[in-house]
């Protein structure tokens, strides 16, 4: 298997923290436009994997390739974000003192340089994009409020909205349904399904109902490597998966 034609290609990736192997010979391949769910017990290395892809953590070993050709291990967070990889953090991270609409505005794809933003004016096109995303994430009515005033679930949605505004090729979404009610969880699954297709999406989630609702290929991570891969029914029937994850 080679990296060509893939959206994201990880091969033999390992990373060690103070002697502890958080990621161990991990390999993962995503086709363009594919949506993939990643499950696994706490500490399996799901977040660390996203850190590696987005340049926050350097792997000790292995290949991380974007778009079939770009070596991500040589780039930093800013470069990787500009290439078109966006991420939502496990703990919702929004700009608390900015208004909801300014959070989206700052995420909106566009020029990022100091002097470009210093002279930037809100264009009609930008205003329309902000409006559209705010409606999509159902925060239209609270656009003027500061993001810090939102509930946990709303912050999750705002952060997903920021991802959409960025319009990346690959979206990495870490536990988007954490702290949500059942109804909100299902709405989030619908939202992510809407996004898929145009984008390549990786979703990390614990909630099995949520993963089932996504209806996509599932990768089970355990102790930093892939334990099983396949449909949700396939992996939940796997004895090793039941032992390390589902059975507990």
């Amino acid at each position: 298997m080679t990296a060509s034609g893939t959206a994201l290609y990880l091969d033999g990736v390992s990373v060690t923290f103070d002697g502890f192997k958080a990621i161990n010979e991990l390999s993962l391949v995503l086709r363009p436009g594919e949506m993939r769910a990643i499950i696994g017990p706490n500490g399996a290395g799901k977040t660390t994997m996203m850190d590696i892809i987005t340049g926050k953590t350097r792997p000790d070993r292995g290949q991380v390739i974007f778009d079939g050709e770009v070596d991500l291990t040589r780039l930093d967070e800013t470069d990787i974000a500009r290439l078109g990889i966006g991420r939502k953090f496990q703990k919702p991270t929004v700009f608390e003192t900015h208004s909801v609409e300014d959070n989206i505005l700052l995420a909106l794809a566009g020029k990022r340089g100091v002097f470009a933003t210093l002279g930037a004016r809100l264009s009609g096109d930008e205003a329309r994009r902000v409006d559209r995303i705010l409606r999509l994430i159902r925060l239209d009515g609270r656009r003027k409020e500061i993001a810090g005033a939102l509930s946990h679930g709303q912050k999750q949605w705002l952060e997903i909205g920021m991802l959409l505004a960025q319009n990346p090729k690959v979206l990495l979404v870490d536990e988007p349904a954490a702290g949500m009610t059942d109804a909100e969880t299902m709405e989030t699954a619908d939202l992510l399904k809407e996004i898929a297709g145009e984008h390549t999406v990786v979703v990390v989630e614990h909630d099995m109902e949520f993963v089932r609702a996504l209806g996509v290929k599932v990768t089970v991570l355990h102790e930093g490597s892939v334990l099983a891969e396949g449909s949700i029914d396939h992996v939940s029937a796997d004895q090793r998966v039941i032992d390390v994850y589902l059975g507990r």
């Binding site: 991270t93 929004v94 608390e96 609409e101 505005l105 990022r112 340089g113 100091v114």
Partner: protein, 401 residues
């Protein structure tokens, strides 16, 4: 989105009502103070003595310095504990010009060399003093030298992602190292004594009342200009990015912003503002010496900002003026206890007014506005209820008729 004005020019759009009040106050001070000093006869109740003009001029340069610190600390989370260094460098650049202006009027009457160089038996002017006989060159250096130092320092610090306490500590180390360097006689900046005994600037006698009034006016103008620059930056989209960096730095990176560039930009602008403040300070106090680099000075600036209200700009100026006003009053009564008083003020403000003077004022105002809205809403509800009652009665009467 209506909150983001599209049509007005950036400069005007950046100034809110409070900005105009602040600028108008500065303008008024820039007119009233010189008039009260120069046009009102001494002995008259409205006469302002010359020492007061110089004192207030000095305060205005401190206010500009505080503004420069608030720009980086309040809006980008960079807590510099070494901003006194940029102030002092701007001051030295101006001091060097004023030294060259003395010319043959020095004690040793050397047409080129300042007295301290003659005293050290130097035969010619060191290269880094070249050009300072020209006012415009000195003015350029007032901005360029602090700006360049901030650029080099920031380049390394921000690229290696030094943040928080570590950054604060190395800024302290920077100003401390500069202080030690400037104390040395062979550095060529007058050592211990610094630069002093200035005579005039652009031909105007520094001791004359009109020159002092002029320097006061320029200090007010510089503060106004510095304020407008800060407003334009902080209200622009780049300003939103700065606040984003302050609140969630790594989130900003993951959105594709080059955080270190934003920090570097704002740090350099801030250093230049501090340099300008120093350049206006020196002719008004008549001396610049290595003591201006002392780490305690830089810490004091941060206290001004904290007291006035971090992240409010005007608060920084208010804090600088308030604390220095208190300092002047206090030191005339109990000169040795001032540092204890300053420490006390800082602790009290931190405990009881954590947002500073302007920040707390804003909270009070917001609460007041909320109460007012509430009262209006209750009033409306009562009126509606009364109207419904009235309509009900009317129809009852009509029915009875």
């Amino acid at each position: 989105m209506s909150s983001l004005p599209k049509s007005r020019p950036m400069l005007l759009a950046s100034l809110d009502r409070r900005s105009w009040t602040f600028l108008a106050t500065l303008l008024a001070a820039g007119i009233i103070v010189p008039v009260a000093n120069l046009a009102v006869e001494p002995g008259h109740a409205a006469h302002l003595p010359s020492y007061a003009v110089a004192l207030m001029g000095k305060y205005l340069t401190y206010a500009l310095l505080a503004l420069s610190v608030d720009l980086i600390w309040g809006y980008c989370g960079i807590l510099s504990l070494g901003h006194g260094a940029f102030f002092a460098l701007g001051g030295y650049a101006m001091g060097m010009h004023l030294m060259r202006e003395i010319g043959p009027r020095g004690v040793y009457a050397d047409p080129v060399l300042p007295d301290f160089m003659v005293f050290l038996n130097w035969k010619e002017l060191p290269w880094f003093w070249w050009g300072f006989d020209m006012f415009w060159f000195a003015c350029l250096m007032v901005l360029l030298v602090p700006g360049l130092l901030a650029f080099v320092f920031g380049w390394f610090a921000f690229r290696s992602r030094v943040t928080g306490v570590y950054l604060s500590i190395i800024t302290q180390a920077m100003t401390y190292a500069l202080m030690l360097a400037f104390f040395r006689n062979d550095m060529g900046f007058g050592g211990n004594n610094g630069l002093t005994d200035f005579k005039d600037v652009l031909g105007f006698d520094l001791q004359s009342d009109t020159t002092r009034a002029g320097l006061f006016v320029f200090s007010a103008l510089a503060l106004a200009a510095g304020y407008v620059v800060c407003r334009v930056i902080t209200t622009s989209r780049a300003g939103k990015v700065l606040i984003a960096v302050r609140d969630a730095e790594s989130r900003t990176r993951f959105l594709g912003y080059r955080v270190e560039h934003y920090k570097l930009f704002v740090f350099v602008v801030s250093a230049m503002m501090a340099g300008l403040a120093g350049a206006l300070y020196v002719p008004q106090v008549g001396i610049i010496n290595p003591g201006e680099f002392s780490p305690a000075n830089s810490i004091e600036i941060v206290i001004w900002v904290a007291v006035g209200g971090r992240g409010t700009l005007i608060g920084a100026a208010v804090g600088a003026l308030t604390i220095n006003g208190l300092k002047t009053v206090f030191t005339s009564v109990a000169p040795n206890e001032w540092l204890f008083a300053l420490g006390g003020i800082f602790i009290l403000v931190t405990l009881f007014m954590p947002r500073g003077i302007l920040g707390e004022w804003d909270v009070l105002k917001a609460r007041h506005a909320a109460e007012k809205r509430e009262r209006i809403a209750t009033g409306l509800r009562r009126m509606r209820a009364a109207a419904a009652e009235g309509a009900h009665l009317t129809s009852a009467v009509e029915a009875a008729e």
